[in-house]
């Protein structure tokens, strides 16, 4: 078997993810040299979004399905990590009515993160049993149902999740360095997954499901594994989110966040990891510019609720515009190394 040796695509994948990692490091370096302290928060949020969008790419992009449940998995992981890691003394204040002794223990951040990953992965596997058997449209609708179910549980069990109030007192154990390492890890993992046997099968299913089936691809299993892998990316993002902010509430893990991350993936292009990275960076930059314009003196009389509407409006326009004029996003099927080194003609696919 070719367990040790990588094939050409996988080698290119390693080169591509190295290039993307260098890009990330350059951004962090630029911040370290010239950045102001408030920008650390923006950069951190961008990187958390980046992990989510890369996770979206593994299932949504490779499989060409639209799924909207990622905010729910992120929320599950964030809450699980937060509840595990918060000191018992703090939880006596923040979660006084928690059942099952949830407020009577505390864990090391690393073990808390692994518990959160395990819980999210288990829920991912459970939902994956449904998702992998459904067809194209049903996957989308059921993923929305998952988002709504999880959100209503967050809101309803105020004794565990505090609902729309903040769950506070989480130790802030992560910094920019941690999340940078996680982003680079996520890029490499997603790229290797895309070029792996399973990723290739999933992309084949996306192009021609009947054909892939006929070639002996186990469609249900390919979808199931990809779904679970993507939930682990969301879990990582959720944990990084909780460990940095120190307070979480149910509100961010809902539709607005889904809009934002889906728009990022669409702009860059569903089919490539490079697209996910570029889309996230571009939209994050764009939103910062909008915010700067709105606070700036050039625009007068813009109030807060209108501001929310404006950035949402632009996200919608980005989605519709990209879909109408460039349905495969900025990158299409290309990865970053294809821009640098030309792919040999024999490797060229018709699509």
């Amino acid at each position: 078997m070719t367990g040790v040796f990588l094939n050409t695509d996988q080698k290119r994948g390693l080169i591509g993810s190295t290039l993307l990692a260098i890009l990330i490091l350059l951004i962090v370096g630029a911040y370290a040299l010239w950045g102001e302290s408030y920008q650390a928060r923006i950069l951190y949020a961008t990187f958390v979004n980046l992990i989510v969008v890369i996770g979206l790419q593994t299932f949504m992009g490779n499989g060409n399905y639209a799924t909207f449940s990622h905010a729910a998995f992120m929320g599950i992981a964030a809450y699980a990590a937060a509840i595990c890691v918060t000191p018992a003394a703090m939880k006596a204040v923040s979660l006084p009515d928690a059942p099952w002794g949830l407020n009577a223990f505390e864990m090391h951040p690393i073990s808390a993160a692994f518990v959160a990953l395990a819980i999210t992965g288990a829920i991912g596997a459970l939902t994956g049993l449904f998702m992998s058997r459904l067809t194209n449209v049903s996957i989308t609708i059921v993923s929305i149902a998952i988002l709504v179910i999880v959100h209503s549980i967050f809101l309803h069990r105020t004794d565990i999740f505090k609902g729309n109030q903040a769950l506070f007192g989480i130790p802030r154990v992560f910094g920019l360095g941690h999340v940078t390492a996680l982003v680079i890890l996520a890029i490499v993992a997603a790229r290797l997954f895309r070029e792996s046997r399973l990723g290739l099968r999933l992309r084949a299913v996306a192009d021609d499901e009947v054909g892939a089936r006929a070639m002996g691809v186990n469609v249900v299993r390919a979808r199931l594994v990809a779904w679970i892998v993507s939930t682990l990316f969301f879990a990582t993002a959720g944990i990084a989110y909780a460990f940095y902010l120190g307070t979480i509430s149910a509100r961010p893990f809902y539709f607005n966040y889904v809009f934002l991350t889906v728009a990022m993936l669409i702009l860059g292009g569903l089919r490539s990891v490079t697209g996910a990275v570029f889309g996230t960076l571009l939209i994050s930059l764009g939103l910062e510019i909008i915010r700067w314009l709105e606070t700036g003196p050039t625009l007068v009389g813009v109030k807060l609720p209108e501001m929310l509407g404006l950035s949402g409006l632009l996200l919608g326009i980005v989605i519709v515009g990209v879909m109408a004029f460039r349905p495969h996003g900025l990158m299409g099927n290309r990865e970053i190394e294809d821009l640098v080194f030309r792919r040999r003609k024999t490797m060229e696919t018709s699509k």
Binding site: A66, L134, T135, I144, A145, L155, H156, I266, G312, G316
Partner: protein, 298 residues
């Protein structure tokens, strides 16, 4: 006994509302494979136009009802022309994401131009009165809703089976290329599907407004989400499936509300979706999947 009949009527009227919306989604999907996420915003547009016409022009409920229907049909046709025509031949995910984007744009336009808070428009409240049928209290709105839905479905069936355009639409849901080769304009078929979808959204809008008496940017979201679930349950793109799914969802919702303890009221929607997920595990393609989906149109 009274209680049982009361709940049965509740279930019927919920189911009727979901069926109305679900058929509107299914008819567009069956023709052009578009999952129309912007349907809820069409309903909200009806609500906003009612609020505007109601304050500026006239409070006459009949005029307003006509206005809501016209507004919904018009905006539905406009969306088809502006946004969905470009992605007509694209794959399902592209169309779906376009509709998703359109829905975000419209919601945020309502936020920007309207208000995040509810705007009151109470002209249809009079539809909702309590009637006494023997010993049972029933809401007149529920009866109107059930009867209207049944009538709308009957008319739609008649249209699809008897009229020239209706037959073309049914044919288009099987093989659009063939219909075009037979000399029928694609634009007319698609526009008719969107007009019917908008009309059904307008009917649903009237009943939603009669119940709520106010309009918000997100008012269409919850019913349309449930209608989507109904479509999936019935088999996406199947009109009988949409109706069946709508009524199943209505009965499930009322059943869950009756069975769950009062304190767990917030989880009703979650419980309904969970039951549907289990049903889908049994039948992943929905209950009445159109035969075309199983092989010839992949």
């Amino acid at each position: 006994m009274d209680y049982a009949i009361q709940q049965l009527l509740n279930a019927l009227s919920f189911g009727a509302e979901y069926a109305l919306i679900a058929v509107g989604l299914a008819i567009v999907f069956s023709i052009m494979g578009l999952v129309n996420f912007a349907h809820g915003e069409v309903i909200a547009f009806g609500g906003y136009s009612m609020a505007v016409v109601g304050t500026i022009l006239t409070g006459n409920p009949l005029v307003l009802m006509a206005g809501v229907l016209i507004a919904c049909v018009a905006v539905s046709l406009l969306l088809e022309r502006v946004a969905f025509r470009t992605v007509r031949n694209a794959d399902i995910t592209t169309g779906l994401l376009t509709a998703f984007g359109v829905s975000i744009i419209l919601q945020n336009l309502y936020l920007l131009l309207g208000s995040p808070r509810p705007i009151s428009a109470t002209q249809f409240i009079f539809l909702d009165r309590t009637l006494m049928l023997g010993p049972i209290h029933v809401s007149s709105l529920q009866i109107y809703e059930t009867v209207t839905t049944i009538a709308a479905i009957l008319f739609l069936t008649l249209f699809l089976k008897r009229s020239h355009l209706g037959i073309a639409m049914r044919a288009a849901s099987r093989d659009f290329q063939m219909v075009r080769l037979c000399g029928i304009r694609a634009n007319r078929v698609v526009a008719t599907a969107f007009a019917i979808s908008g009309l059904l959204a307008g009917l649903a809008c009237i009943f939603i407004m009669a119940r709520r008496g106010s309009v918000t940017p997100h008012m269409g979201f919850d019913p349309v989400l449930t209608a989507f679930i109904a479509c999936v349950l019935g088999g996406f793109g199947s009109l009988p499936g949409a109706v069946l799914g709508g009524f199943i969802l209505g009965f499930l919702e009322v059943g869950v509300l009756v069975l769950l303890p009062q304190t767990a009221g917030g989880l009703a929607q979650a419980a309904v979706f969970l039951v549907v997920a289990l049903l889908l595990f049994w039948r992943p393609d929905g209950i009445l999947t159109p035969a075309a989906e199983k092989g010839d149109k992949l």
